[in-house]
């Protein structure tokens, strides 16, 4: 076991991790651990844009942005945090531009902005041009720019390291253990501060826009260390995932004017969101699509047509935008439709279906990014979180498009500043030997599974299929209860998994099993949270409990794992400027 | 790490572009002179007279030098890209240099050393010597 000392260890090299690293590297010794190379992080898959009320093309201002975010969150977002982010978003956007990120431009040479779902002018009057974009490669260019800046600042990277253990003792974070994927072997990092920027967990579902690496590693570790997870029942389904694979087709397509059509060629959104139409927020749009499908107006694939089965897709129609515009402002969408579906989007509509996309919940943190351990906001010294894995909570019950790239970059920077400020008062703590033994024993267990009989991929497949069926867009008690049993059964089966490869070096069979073990560890928090929350709010829609219930449920869920069971606690929502109202678009 | 002519390669690259362009012009000139410049029969006489003029010697010498450098520099690049065995590469680089130098020297001697037979005889006296 190799022991390293770094003042600050950041886990994850997406937008949040890299932006924080940039900030911390100015004052201290920082190391970034990432299980893929930094530029492979899934922030790069963000396409449409990054929200900031620059008002380059209309009279936008940050208060409209704040209102939209609050309303989009179905009033579950903490308004102090939302105000802090939206107010400072323009300044952050200019900083990102000054660092060298290329942006599409207006004729006057300003950053170009496009429409996005749920972003409006004048508190809901009409769509706002708020999403700053770089064709449809926005996340990609921002991620690469931040990486470039980290290279410039000689940030130390440990690439292809899988974090496996979070060392918290006596309420203090002391470091982490990580597996060196490339060479094999467990490394222990003794730290003053650990920042989790480990991203989301879309891989809980079968149809997802997320990377194969998005297995919510940080969440599993936090839960195992006795910390709670917040608002886990809120999982965003992006309305337009490519049919079957779930690959993202940016909301920017609809921002540029694309239509959603059912099998009769009807723009069905007029029945669900008459004002904003296709630019309604994601929860509403996904539900509308799913309703069309459930009511038999879905588009059939050729196989479904042959078998006479109902269709489970709708069309994203880009044809009227014209080939030239598509190639200019949505080049990636064009390529994806061609490469993965064999469809020319200028000639034919693209079949899409809702795809699991973003986790609104995560590790509870304060506005400053410090991880908290209970409803009284007791902080865990030395532990921080930012980005999708954290829950500030900005996005509440439903995130608006383009707010995640903003959230990750903004809170990445802010938590970096918090750590820089905290560093002088933080110190190294002894690593408890029993924790190190446990971390090593866990890895040894994975390397000693040749006598097991259960197939890892089958367990993973069953988890994803059942979650997709029982805990997706529409939820009800019976399915959720059944899903809890299924998960407990899968957890039992997991104890008997088989792993063939015993090599230490580049053993991705062990890594995939580890990721699955992690998923199985925290996935119950989604189901239990959804089961208990008997109302409809944002992305959480209980068909057996219609309507939002502010009297009982205007509160954040905190889920703990105690004695093998999930225990829930609740935390109040911060409401400042905007009182909860009925949500209509 | 292998060595090449010049410190960086900027000059060599630039030279290849310029020499390439000049060679294209020279080739066009060559074609025109040989095939279209005189309407009548091409005789030894006419060719010999042309080759004897200093202007033409200069043109031909430039043509030769540029072609040899341009062509053999290209060979060296191919060797440097595709031959990975050290010995083989050494051998081929030496071979390219040798052949290039030999061709250049032989060509130069031919061009510079060419004198038409004196005195210039009228074509009919040369009889069947030139067909």
């Amino acid at each position: 076991m190799i022991v390293h000392n770094h003042e600050v260890v950041i886990i994850g090299a997406g937008m949040a991790g890299l932006r924080a690293a940039l900030e911390v590297s100015k004052v201290g010794d920082v190391a970034v651990l990432t299980k893929v190379y930094p530029t492979r992080s899934h922030s790069g898959a963000a396409q449409g844009g990054m929200a900031a009320a620059l008002g380059n093309l209309d009279g936008d201002n940050w208060e409209f942005h704040m209102f939209d975010t609050v309303k989009g969150s179905d009033y579950l977002g903490d308004q102090d945090a939302i105000e802090f982010m939206c107010r400072n978003a323009p300044e952050l956007m200019y900083e990102v531009e000054h660092m060298g990120t290329p942006f599409s431009r207006t004729p006057e040479g300003k950053i170009a902005q496009r429409r996005f779902g749920g972003h409006t002018l004048n508190f809901g009057e009409k769509p706002a041009l708020r999403a700053c974009y770089s064709a449809d490669y926005t996340g990609h260019v921002v991620l690469h720019c931040l990486y470039d800046q980290c290279v410039k600042n000689s940030v130390r990277f440990y690439s292809e390291f899988q974090v496996t253990y979070l060392i918290v003792k006596d309420g203090i974070c002391r470091g982490i253990a990580a597996w060196d994927i490339r060479n094999g072997g467990l490394h222990v990092f003794n730290t003053k501060a650990v920042l989790f920027a480990t991203g989301g967990y879309g891989r809980v579902y079968r149809i997802t826009s997320n990377a194969l690496a998005n297995t919510g590693d940080g969440l599993g570790l936090a839960l195992r260390a006795g910390l709670p997870l917040e608002d886990m029942e809120f999982v965003q389904f992006h309305p337009t995932g490519l049919y079957r694979s779930g690959i993202l087709m940016t909301e920017g397509a609809r921002g540029e004017g694309a239509y959603l059509l059912n099998k009769d060629g009807e723009r069905f959104m007029k029945r669900y969101a008459p004002t904003l139409m296709e630019l309604a927020p994601r929860d509403l749009t996904s539900r509308s699509i799913q309703t069309e499908i459930n009511e038999g107006r879905g588009v059939q694939s050729p196989e479904q047509q042959a078998k006479g089965e109902p269709g489970d897709a709708v069309y994203l129609d880009l044809r009227h935008l014209g080939r030239e515009k598509l190639k200019a402002v949505l080049p990636q969408i064009f390529d994806i439709a061609e490469n993965f579906m064999g469809i020319d989007p200028a000639k034919d509509p693209v079949p899409i279906q809702p795809t699991s996309h973003y986790s609104m919940g995560g590790i509870p943190v304060t506005i400053q990014g410090r991880v908290i351990r209970d409803a009284q906001s007791t902080e865990v010294p030395g532990l921080y979180a930012a980005g999708e894995c954290a829950c500030v909570s900005i996005h509440g019950a439903n995130r608006l498009g383009c707010n995640s790239t903003l959230d990750a970059t903004f809170h990445g920077r802010h938590v970096g500043r918090t750590i820089a400020r905290d560093l002088p008062s933080l110190s190294y703590h002894d690593l408890p030997p029993e924790a190190m033994r446990e971390a090593q024993a866990e890895m040894n267990w994975y390397f000693d599974r040749s006598s097991g009989t259960e197939n890892v991929a089958d367990i993973r497949g069953e988890l994803q299929n059942t979650m997709q069926k029982n805990v997706a867009i529409f939820r009800e008690e019976k399915a959720l209860t059944a899903q809890l049993d299924i998960i407990q059964n899968l957890q039992r089966r997991f104890k008997n998994i088989h792993i063939n490869d015993r090599n230490q070096r580049f053993n991705t069979e062990v890594m995939e099993a580890y990721e699955l073990g992690n998923l199985l560890n925290f996935v119950e928090t989604i189901v239990v949270g959804a089961l208990e929350r008997e109302e409809c709010r944002g992305a959480h829609w209980r068909t057996d409990h219609p309507g939002r219930n502010d009297v009982e449920w205007l509160k954040h869920t905190l889920a703990y794992r105690e004695d093998g069971k999930i225990r829930l606690d609740y935390k109040p929502v911060v409401i400042t400027r905007f009182q909860p109202k009925e949500r209509k678009y | 790490m292998e060595r090449g002519i010049g410190s960086g390669g900027a000059f060599a690259w630039f030279f290849q572009r310029i020499s390439g362009a000049v060679l294209v012009l020279a080739l066009l000139l060559h074609f025109w002179v040989l095939h279209y410049s005189n309407q009548g029969e091409v005789t030894f006489e006419i060719v010999a007279q042309r080759l004897a003029t200093p202007v033409w010697k200069t043109i031909d010498l430039t043509f030769l030098v540029l072609a040899v450098i341009h062509g053999f520099w290209g060979f060296l690049m191919i060797v440097r890209d595709y031959v990975h065995s050290k010995n083989m590469r050494l051998f081929l680089v030496a071979a390219v240099w040798t052949v290039g130098l030999v061709i250049a020297v032989m060509g130069a001697l031919t061009i510079i050393g060419f004198h038409p037979p004196l005195p210039v005889a009228p074509p009919e006296q040369l009889g069947g010597m030139v067909q």
């Binding site: 190379y37 290329p102 942006f103 720019c145 690496a213 | -």
Partner: protein, 234 residues
């Protein structure tokens, strides 16, 4: 449909040289090479190793040599491949680590040598962006889409011969900053570019253009850089 993949297997710990092993898999219509590898790993041989992440052509992890051509496994539909069995091998030009995984350290090092960040000594304007026209941005649209998958550098014969040659990916990055109107880093990057292991090692073989999954015309960009250096010098 059933397909046979002939996959390169190499385990450094075994002491044996790499070899090609045939696997037959049942795949749905529209399945990609990455899906096929996933199926092999899930149900036939869990020890098969390859890099992957986004499976949507944006992260750049899964570049490999498929039927003799560098491409992304996640974007390549099995049906579209003519030659059967389908040959799947690691990227050439880099040291193999295990199976389809290669050592990309030289690739990253070369990239970092080009000083891949915006260099501009003048402070930016406060509370607004540095101006840039749509026409000026158009120069960046192609190079900025590079996903650093290493397909290009791995296909370049000049790189095979000279591992200190920057390679097409690093030069694309240099182009991305050099032709950004907001950048003034030419003075600092020039020595790395105007170098026998820099721009001048490119002999316009154009393999990079052919295999780039983002259709970046890298050779053309390198020519622009060469022109910039020559114009500066002569």
């Amino acid at each position: 449909m059933q397909y046979t993949l002939r996959v390169y297997r190499y385990d450094p710990e075994s002491g044996q040289p790499g070899r090609l092993v045939d696997y037959t898999v049942e795949l749905e219509k529209g399945a990609t090479v990455l899906d096929a590898l996933g199926e092999i790993k899930a149900h036939q041989d869990g020890s098969l190793v390859y890099r992957r992440s986004c499976r949507s052509g944006i992260c750049g992890s899964c570049a490999m040599k498929i039927n003799g051509f560098n491409r992304l496994a996640c974007e390549t539909q099995v049906e579209s491949l003519g030659r059967k069995p389908i040959h799947v091998e690691p990227l050439p030009g880099f040291k193999p680590i295990k199976d389809l995984v290669v050592d990309l350290e030289p690739f990253w090092n070369n990239l970092h040598r080009t000083l891949p960040w915006l260099i501009n000594p003048n402070p930016p304007p406060t509370d607004k962006e540095r101006p840039q026209s749509p026409e000026e941005f158009a120069w960046l649209e192609m190079p900025m889409t590079c996903i650093l998958c290493a397909s290009c550098t791995s296909s370049c014969p000049s790189f095979w011969a000279d591992r200190t040659y920057l390679g097409p990916a690093a030069l694309n990055k240099a182009f991305r900053y050099e032709f950004d109107t907001r950048d003034q880093g030419f003075g600092q990057r020039r020595d790395t570019l105007d170098n026998r292991h820099g721009l001048w090692r490119c002999h316009t073989i154009m393999n990079c253009n052919d295999c780039c999954p983002k259709h970046i015309r890298i050779t053309e960009e390198i020519s622009w850089l060469k022109r910039k250096v020559v114009e500066e010098k002569y």
